[in-house]
């Protein structure tokens, strides 16, 4: 397990919702609700659980394995996990070395995850391993921008934010392709910065 990343998110857990709990969630709720409506009846892997902010917009009755690298995040998420009307199993795990069998999951969902995974292509390849052939990868992610001055600003902001939490300048769509997925659909939520991605393993 990546101890540097684990400690960073352990430290962030107690105050995580001060920054992320209201504004971002309210703003993104309609788009997340639409993305998560794609959850099917098979086995679902969700990462990263965080404090469980996404759980209230999950459809009911699903069978979900939710992982996070931080046990403190998982502990913070416990009330929302308990409140979910379905089956959620939580587990501390690093996306780079997930303790799951090959082809175990029908679908994988991520939510603001690959802004923080240290080796994103390697992480996406690890997801590919546990995803059944033809399975779906659905992502809600923020990335860098291709446009001036936003690209430069996000590079500047990342100097600050990566010490405390996420990077602001990731190239997640390109990383998905580099990890061996076929892009089915990319929908921009805000500029070219916040987006949903649907991909399947090639």
């Amino acid at each position: 397990m990546d101890e540097v990343t684990r400690r960073k998110w352990d430290r962030a857990a107690a105050n995580f919702e001060l920054m992320a709990g209201y504004g971002p969630e309210k703003r993104w709720e309609p788009y997340k609700r639409e993305l998560f409506s794609n959850m099917g009846d098979g086995e679902i892997l969700f990462l990263a659980l965080g404090t469980g902010l996404d759980l209230p917009v999950f459809p009911e009755g699903k069978s979900i394995t939710a992982i996070d690298i931080s046990q403190k995040m998982i502990d913070e998420a416990a009330p929302r996990v308990d409140a979910y009307n379905g089956n959620i199993r939580t587990q501390q795990a690093d996306v780079h070395e997930m303790p799951f069998e090959d082809n175990q999951f029908d679908q994988v969902f991520t939510s603001c995850t690959f802004c923080s995974v240290p080796n994103p292509v390697q992480g996406l390849e690890a997801i590919k391993r546990v995803l059944k052939p033809g399975g779906d990868l659905f992502m809600f992610e923020h990335t860098g921008s291709r446009f001036f001055p936003f690209r430069q600003m996000m590079n500047l902001m990342t100097v600050v934010t990566k010490r405390l939490g996420p990077d602001m300048n990731r190239t997640t769509v390109e990383n998905v392709v580099a990890a061996g997925y076929d892009l089915k659909k990319v929908t921009h939520v805000y500029m070219d910065v916040v987006k949903t991605i649907h991909a399947i393993p090639v």
């Binding site: 001060l18 209201y22 996000m154 769509v173 892009l183």
Partner: protein, 127 residues
């Protein structure tokens, strides 16, 4: 395009207020006699630095990227506009704040228009 009143109003007020603050502070710093280009570059950089903590702080209430990017841009544009003006003519604190607020409102409008332009064109950049 965002149409919820809470967020639209928040975006307007945030950009106008941060622009006004940047304009106010930089009108205190820069005066006639400064080389205009130097003043503008310093204004852009300082404007962004002043805006940075507000960009992070306000995002907790009004959304992450949707707040940070316009507010940072407002800092840059307001800083540039006010220092350009102040390097050419005596600019009062109130005048600097007003010019900064107007810059913020301009950035608000520009980012909404830019967002409306960019969103439907996502597919061609990702295939």
């Amino acid at each position: 395009m965002e149409t919820r009143l809470y967020f639209v109003a928040g975006d307007i007020v945030n950009n106008a207020a941060v622009g006004a603050l940047v304009g106010l502070l930089l009108s205190l710093l820069v005066g006639p006699g400064w080389p205009m280009i130097v003043a503008m570059i310093i204004g852009m950089v300082l404007g962004m630095i002043i805006a940075l903590p507000f960009a992070f702080g306000l995002s907790a209430l009004f959304g992450a990227m949707e707040t940070m990017l316009p507010v940072m841009t407002t800092g840059m544009v307001a800083g540039m506009a006010v220092t350009m003006s102040a390097s050419m003519n005596e600019t009062s604190i109130a005048g600097g704040a007003e010019m900064g607020a107007i810059s913020g409102l301009g950035v608000f409008a520009a980012t909404y228009i830019f967002n409306a332009f960019v969103k439907p064109r996502a597919a061609k950049w990702t295939k």
